[in-house]
Structures are given as C-alpha cells and as structure tokens.
C-alpha cells in the first residue's frame, strides 16, 4: 500500500492536506445528500478510500478534486445500491432523493436550503461545484464525468430552477422551462 511507504514526512504532509480538504469535502457531501450525519459517513469513507488509493493520485494534481470524485462515486454507488435493494415500486424513495417536479407546483416560497435540495442531483452538484466551491467548468465536468458544456447547461438549469423555486408565483413562468399549469394563471395576475 502506498500509504505504508509514506509514513514519514510525506505521510504527515499528505495527512495535513487531507485535513485541510475535509471542510470542503464535508460541505460538498452535505450539499449533495442534505444530511450532515450521512455526509460525515460519506466523508469518512472517502478518507479511508483515498488513503488506500494514494497510489493512483498524481502528485501536483488537485487533491480536493480527486477527493470530491471519490466521494461522489461512493455516494452514487450507495444511491444505486439502495435503489436496487429497497423496494420502491411507486418511486417514493427515489422521488425524495431526486427532486420531484410534481411537488414544485405546490410550492410558493421556499427556504434556500430546501429549494437546493429540490433540485435534481446532477444539477445540484453542478451548482455546488461551480458556484459554491468555485471550480471551473472543466474541473467540475471531470469530477462528474461529463463534458464541460453539459456542466454549463446543468449549472444554468439549476440556477433557473432555483430562481423559480425561490420566486413568488408571478415569476415562475419566466424563470424556468418547466411551467406548472396551475401557476401560469397566477403569474398573469
């Protein structure tokens, strides 16, 4: 294991780098899963996996981006596993994890955190990585395994959707592409 070979100064340096990355890693985890306990479990698993896979980490590259990629992979693996294992014939659990479009029609004003959690997962993580973490579209795209153009599109859609969720009914029609019919009338008043 490469960690065994870095028990001296390199190991200490790497440990300090990992400690320095924990706040961002934790913030990202909380943002995508919406639960601090679960986020801490994700971070813990990420640290263990990262420590065990230090051989695959290229020196000089972005450690935070590498850790984000590991955390995201763990989260998605867990997400898929739970979806397979948990009987969810009506899609209720999946609907809770990936923002339901149908519920949006009933919302008039939301707390920002709540609105953020209503975003689809791919849009939420894109917005967090680019707008909050300050990564470039290219970095965020590499973490999410998509093209930079896709990342731009996700960020734009996320911003529009958030604007729609946070706005009053009168602005819903302009903010996003999804325009609930029930609110269209209200928007014209």
């Amino acid at each position: 294991m490469s960690a065994e070979g870095q028990e001296s100064g390199d190991g200490q340096s790497l440990k300090n780098d990992l400690i320095a990355a924990i706040p961002s890693l934790r913030a990202f985890a909380i943002s995508i899963c919406g639960n601090s306990d679960r986020a801490d479990d994700l971070v813990q698993e990420t640290l263990v996996k990262a420590w065990g896979s230090l051989g695959s980490f290229s020196e000089g590259t972005n450690l935070t981006a590498w850790l984000f990629t590991i955390l995201r992979n763990i989260y998605y693996s867990e997400f898929r596993r739970r979806r397979r294992e948990t009987p969810d014939p009506d899609g209720e659990i999946a609907a809770r994890l990936v923002a339901p479009e149908s519920q949006n029609a009933h919302m008039e004003f939301l707390d920002f955190r709540e609105a953020l959690q209503k975003l689809p997962l791919d849009q939420r993580e894109a917005l967090i990585l680019v707008a909050a973490q300050g990564m470039s579209y290219e970095e965020a795209a590499e973490i999410c395994g998509c093209a930079p153009g896709t990342m731009k599109s996700r960020v734009n859609r996320a911003r529009n959707r958030l604007a729609e969720l946070m706005s009053d009914p009168g602005t819903r029609g302009e903010a996003g592409e999804a325009r609930p019919a029930a609110l269209t009338q209200a928007g014209q008043d």
Partner: protein, 174 residues
C-alpha cells in the same frame, strides 16, 4: 311504428318556425343588398348572436377580439425584446441612455429601470442565488472538523486501521 311516425311530425314543427328566419337569408339575393338590407342583416346577426353564440358572426367577433389582444401582446413582447436587445449591447452603447455616470458592469443593468419593470426577477434572483449559495456553503466550510476525522487519519497514519474498514459501508460509523 306509431313512435316513428310521431318523430317526423315533432321535428317538422320547429323547422317551420325557424323557416321565417332562414327564408330571409335565402330569398334575398346578395346583389340587391342595400342600406335597408344592412339593417336587416344586423338585426339577424344580433339575433343569431343571442340565440347561438357559436355561429359564424360570434366566431368572427371573437376572432377580432383575439386579434386585438394579440396585437396588444405583440406590442408588449416587442418592448420586452427591445429591452433584451438593449441589455445585450456593449456597455458603452447604452449606458449613457439610462445612467450618465456609466460604470455599469453588465449589460443587464444597462436598462435597469425599464428592464426591472419587465423582467425584474431574473437578474435579481441570479445574484441572490449566488450570494445565498456562497453564504450557505461558507457556513458549512467554516464548521469545525469533527474529531472523528482527525482520529481516523491518525489511525490511518499509524496503520492501525485494518483493511476491513476501507470496505465498510458508508453508513457505518466507527
């Protein structure tokens, strides 16, 4: 059989009554329509509108109203698109029109008074979202690192942690 013979009789009666109105339209040729006929036509149209709102006259009137409404809508959307167009201009092009002091960062703020009236929320919420998101994220980042992570890294550094931990499920705690 008696029931079927009654049906045509019942059906003929209203036709005979309606024939008064229908015969006016049939017997007067269009070429002879003059001023008196116009009055008659308008009376017929009024009665038709009152009696049957789904007739051609009613449709024509509603179409006319719709056209007026569309014209109004088009005028509004034209103003809006002009605003968007102005917003897309380079900073120097429209800054003096609305703000002589200049120093405008984005095209969106060029036509601020008018633009705000037409599409106020897009720009406003865009900024608010950025700030809200940054505040939320900064608060999360500013939280103290839980002790469990420091202990975990210490354990990993000392190679105390067994390989079994790395394969533990994410939901498991130490």
């Amino acid at each position: 059989m008696s029931a079927t013979s009654k049906d045509p009789a019942d059906f003929k009666e209203p036709i005979r009554e309606r024939g008064v109105l229908l015969s006016v339209r049939r017997t007067i040729p269009r070429g002879e329509i003059g001023p008196p006929q116009k009055i008659m036509t308008s009376q017929i149209e009024d009665s038709m509108v009152k009696n049957n709102p789904e007739n051609a006259v009613a449709r024509a009137q509603s179409t006319e109203d719709q056209l007026r409404a569309e014209t109004r809508h088009f005028a509004g959307s034209l103003q809006r698109s002009m605003g968007v167009f102005t917003a897309g201009l380079p900073t120097g092009a429209g800054a003096s029109l609305h703000n002589g002091a200049g120093a405008l960062d984005t095209g969106a703020s060029l036509c601020s008074p008018r633009q705000k009236k037409d599409r106020p929320r897009e720009v406003h919420f865009g900024d608010a979202i950025g700030k809200e998101l940054q505040n939320l994220y900064d608060d999360l980042v500013a939280q103290p690192i839980p002790e469990r992570f420091l202990n975990l890294l210490n354990q990993l550094e000392k190679n105390v942690v067994s390989s079994g931990l790395s394969s533990s499920a994410p939901g498991e705690k130490e």
